[in-house]
Symmetry: C2
Subunit: 129 residues, 2 copies
Amino acid sequence: MTEAPLRRQTRQRTAVAEALDSQEQFRSAQEIHDVVRHRGDSVGLTTVYRALQAMAEDGQVDVIVRDDGEAVYRQCSPSHHHHLVCRSCHTTIEIEAPSVETWATRISAEHGFRDVAHTIEVFGLCTKC
Amino acid sequence: MTEAPLRRQTRQRTAVAEALDSQEQFRSAQEIHDVVRHRGDSVGLTTVYRALQAMAEDGQVDVIVRDDGEAVYRQCSPSHHHHLVCRSCHTTIEIEAPSVETWATRISAEHGFRDVAHTIEVFGLCTKC
DNA sequence: CTTTGTGCAAAGGCTTTGCATGCTT
DNA sequence: AAGCATGCAAAGCCTTTGCACAAAG
C-alpha cells in the first residue's frame, strides 16, 4: 500500500496547516501564504508550496486544479466526497455521491480499467449570487 | 442565448482543425502545433492557442485541464459526455452517464444552485497497461 | 475598405529547482 | 551527528498580450 513518507514537524508546516484550517474555501498556495503572514508567522512561499504538496500527497487536504490551471487547496472531511462550488462567490459545499461512485466503478470495470480514480466537481450559482 | 462570435475562415484555422481531427487522444496546444507543422502547414504557436480557444468557446472541441495545469484539446462527439482516460497510455474512451447527470441536477437543486455545469473525468489503467 | 486574424517577441503568473544554511530527530 | 526542511533567487512552463502587418468579407 501507500506508506506515509515520514514528515518532519516544523514551525512552518504547523503554520500552513493552521492557516488552512482557518479557511472555509479553497485557497491557492499564494493565498495561504498571505494568510500565514497575516497570522503573524513568517514562512517562505516555496515552503508553503512544498508543505501543501506534502499534505496533499498524504491525503490531508483536497486539491482542485481550476480551469485557469491554478491549484487550490482546502482542508476537508476525511471521507471521500466531491464539491458543489459557486462560480461567483466560491462558496463550497461538500457533497456525497454514492450513486456516482457505483457508476464510476461499474463503467470502469466494463472497459477493463483498474486502479480507478475520478474527478467530479459541480459548478453553479448559489442562492445568494 | 449564446451567439456564435462570427469566426473568419483562414488557412491557419483550417490547419488546426485538421490536425485536431487527425488525433485520437487529447493533445496540448503545443502538441497540436507540432502536428500542424509535421503536416506541412506553417502556423504560429500563438495562433494555435487562439484557434483552440475559439473552437472550445464555440463548443467544437473538448478541453480538459490536466492535473499539471496544462490544457488539452480533443475533437469529440457533439453530444454531452465524459471521459475514461488511461493514466499510462492516455487512451480515451467517451462515456455517457445519464444517472450522473440526473444526480448532478438533483443535488444542485437541493442546494439552490442554478446554471449548473459539471466536470467528471475518470482515470485508471486500461487493459493493455 | 473595414475588421478580424496572424505572428513574433516579450511579458505574465504559477510552480519548481539549485544550493547553502538551519533545524528536527 | 545525519538528513530532511527552509528560503532566496533563478529558472521553467504554459499561456497571454502588445503591436504592426496581412488577409477575409
